[in-house]
């Protein structure tokens, strides 16, 4: 066998690797390996300039393969396989070593240890490279259909975008109505359209499309398969309303219903009945009965003939090629007593304040008292020094200023006092800040070690701060209402995320593979993420990510087939004695019993074999190996790591 010639590239990753791993030492340690023709370090292996250099190196030196030691293969395995292809090598001759996630970052507390480990990992990759052969990819059918989980603004826009691409869509919403958080807002900062109007427009577009199936009151409860063919099990809870409910009948049913429960749509500021719609133009138009709180008194049945308690829960099965997650966010709930929350009656959160100003006309009142002076305390539950939420929630500064301006324009004699820790009204949102300053809003600022305090003196509620904008001067505002500017937090109910095993980042939102290079993909093949389930975003940012995720999900399936690695099992006919153990172990019926001239042996059906390797350990004569994961390769890697 001709001795191979390979090139080895060790990446600094800016400083992500080289701050902890001595990359030059790694290079020197591996340059003497017998098959290594050249070994280089590079600042960014993935950069265009380095990729061009690799192609040139391969062509000029007639290299047989390449090893790159850099970040996780989840991020750049395909990048460097493509470099090999551009240099006329088969992509399976490329071998990757992960010295960032599994060396420099995992052992940033031990630079010597990280460097030693990186050397061993690169040597193991070189050992594997000795066996790396040119292979042809397999092709499997991909179902051209995407499940979009969550029918908020991101999910709805993603569904429309996929539909435009002539891709079937199943839009699954856990709640009874579509629209998510945006349906809760009236006035929006960047458009004259209200949140409700935006959702109505999108819904009217969605229902015109034959290739979109909308499921409300529905939850994904099971999933099987993998990218290209994912089987979903969906539980659909009945609305207990059969057919179109006449608005007058609904009015009577709501009036007669004796149940009163806190209304989550209005952030518990008000109550609702067990039969309800959140607002008249809400979609779907059919109301819903909340059976958890319904007493089954039967009063609504008497006035509304469409009420039907005989409706049963449905279990639906759908097969899709990809899943796009757009499950949104929760608003941070302050701790008991945090800036007077739940202990003082005139302290509310920003979402509650927005619902309050949206639902009131004439005078702004809260709990019967007219509101004039409003104190906004920023970064409650965000940028925490002691708590878990260390991140900035991005959208709350703009949202607060917009709400404050809306209150000022809608009601008379409103005075806004903003107790902030530095404002982040980025981009065009700066215009709102300028409007707020012009309108006379007062801004008072502190660092995280001098947060404002909320106290009471008699019937007065006082918000105090040492204002750093006036050289630490003590300032005090008598507030009629204190608004805690709460940010976005990940959904408390993560059942669907757990089902798909979606990884979360440090902030506990779903994590993309790379924030710049692969911003809507997850490490689970075929699952993309969009909107605020990935991290705090405003509507425009959510929509942008939704369109990006829709395009990515579609691009996976667009050809109707997927290329899969040809890493199947192979049988050594000399060693095989046909005992049937491999046939029993194979979950895919990929093992055939064949008779040759001399004997009966096992044969692999390559079109069915998935490359799991379950057949290999049960083979007593050790006649089975996985391509690219053979005993020779694994043992040579163990030798290199030892």
């Amino acid at each position: 066998m001709k001795k191979k010639k390979i090139g080895v590239y060790i990446c600094h990753c800016g400083g992500n690797i080289s701050d902890y791993v001595d990359v030059e030492k790694v290079r020197q340690a591996v340059e003497g390996e017998d098959i290594v023709f050249l070994a280089k370090t590079t600042m960014f292996a993935c950069s265009d300039s380095n990729q061009r250099e690799m192609v040139e190196d391969i062509k000029v030196n007639n290299l047989d393969g390449v090893v790159v030691a850099s970040c996780s293969p989840k991020l750049h395995l395909l990048t460097f396989r493509n470099v090999s292809v551009r240099a006329d090598l088969n992509k399976y001759t490329y071998v990757h070593a992960n010295i960032r996630e599994q060396a420099s970052w995992a052992h940033s507390d031990n630079k010597t240890g990280a460097t030693e480990k990186a050397i061993h990992l690169v040597k193991a990759a070189i050992a594997k490279s000795r066996y790396a052969e040119a292979l042809e990819t397999n092709k499997v059918k991909a179902i051209k259909s995407v499940a979009v989980v969550g029918a908020g603004v991101a999910g709805m826009k993603a569904a429309i975008s996929l539909s435009d691409k002539e891709c079937d869509v199943v839009l699954i919403e856990k709640e009874s109505f579509v629209g998510g958080r945006v349906a809760q807002w009236d006035s929006l900062s960047t458009t004259t359209e209200t949140g409700k109007e935006m959702i109505s427009r999108l819904y009217n577009d969605l229902i015109k499309r034959e290739n979109i199936t909308i499921l409300t009151n529905s939850e994904v409860i099971g999933n099987k398969g993998s990218v290209g063919n994912i089987s979903l099990t969906i539980k659909k809870t009945p609305r207990y309303i059969n057919g179109s409910c006449h608005p007058e009948d609904l009015k009577r049913a709501i009036a007669i219903c004796p149940v009163e429960v806190p209304d989550e749509f209005n952030f518990r500021l008000t109550t609702r009945k067990a039969i309800y719609k959140n607002y008249p133009s809400e979609y779907p138009q059919t109301p819903v009965i909340d059976l958890k709180n319904c007493t089954r008194c039967g009063a609504c049945e008497k006035v509304c003939p469409t009420v039907d308690f005989s409706e049963k829960e449905e279990i639906l099965d759908f097969s899709v090629g990809s899943v796009l997650m757009a499950t949104g966010f929760d608003s941070y709930t302050p701790a008991y007593g945090e800036f007077g929350y739940a202990t003082l009656e005139n302290v509310i959160t920003l979402p509650q304040f927005k619902r309050l100003i949206d639902t009131q006309y004439g005078k702004l009142t809260y709990k019967g008292k007219e509101i004039k002076n409003i104190a906004y305390i920023y970064c409650v539950g965000s940028r925490q020094v002691d708590g878990e939420n260390t991140y900035c929630s991005r959208n709350c500064c703009t949202s607060t200023i917009h709400a404050a301006l809306t209150a000022k324009s809608k009601f008379q004699d409103i005075n806004n006092f903003h107790f902030n820790r530095g404002l982040r009204t980025y981009g065009k949102q700066e215009i709102l800040y300028a409007d707020s300053l012009r309108s006379g809003d007062i801004y008072l600022q502190s660092y995280e070690d001098g947060l404002p305090t909320v106290t009471t003196e008699g019937k007065k509620t006082l918000v105090k701060i040492n204002d750093i904008l006036t050289n630490g001067r003590k300032m005090e505002v008598e507030a009629d209402l204190v608004v805690l500017v709460t940010g976005m937090v990940p959904r408390a109910d993560n059942s669907v995320g757990s089902l798909f095993k979606l990884p979360k980042g440090r902030d506990k939102f779903y994590n993309e593979i790379h924030m710049k290079l692969r911003p809507v993909e997850t490490v689970i093949d075929g699952i993309t993420i969009a909107g605020a389930c990935q991290g705090p975003k405003n509507i425009a940012e959510s929509v942008n990510s939704a369109l990006s995720a829709a395009t990515k999900s579609y691009s996976i399936l667009s050809k109707g087939e997927l290329e899969t690695d040809p890493l199947v099992a192979s049988i050594d006919p000399e060693k095989c004695t046909w005992c049937g153990a491999c046939e029993a172990a194979c979950p895919f019926d990929a093992i055939l019993k064949v008779e040759t001239d001399q004997k009966v042996i096992a044969e692999i059906n390559n079109t069915v074999c998935k490359g799991c390797g379950m057949c290999a350990p049960v083979c007593e004569p050790d006649a089975i190996n996985l391509i690219a994961c053979s005993s020779d390769e694994i043992m040579s890697m163990i030798d290199a790591l030892a």
Binding site: N98, W105, N110, G113, S226, I524, A616, I634, M637
Partner: protein, 135 residues
Amino acid sequence: MADLHKNSAKILVFSTEKISDPAIDMAGLLKLHYPPTVYTITIPCSSGIKSSWILHAYQKGFDGVFIAADGSDCVYGESCTEKTGRLVGKTHELMKAEEIDPARLRMAAICSVCSESFVKQIRSFNEYLLKTLHP
């Protein structure tokens, strides 16, 4: 390497590409430290590990072998858990025959987000191996 061995045993991890690899990568991303003498070899499925590979690792000087198993999340089907358990049982028998402490082979199901669980398992395994092999 001698200095490293004072606080860390040499452990070979068999990890799966789609399930436990993401968890081990995320442990690095989150800077959840574990001994640097823990090395990972990626395979498609934990039920495809051969006993001969594990025995080879001990022969080459590894103190322990850890199988970061797919468990019930395995993309190749539910039989993975049972089959991986069977190969671990078989390997334990072979280890006993060669007078190798069977506790030097550990298996735990590591899902794609089980970074903390992985690090906890590895630290505990490291402590056991140091106590029994490098007291």
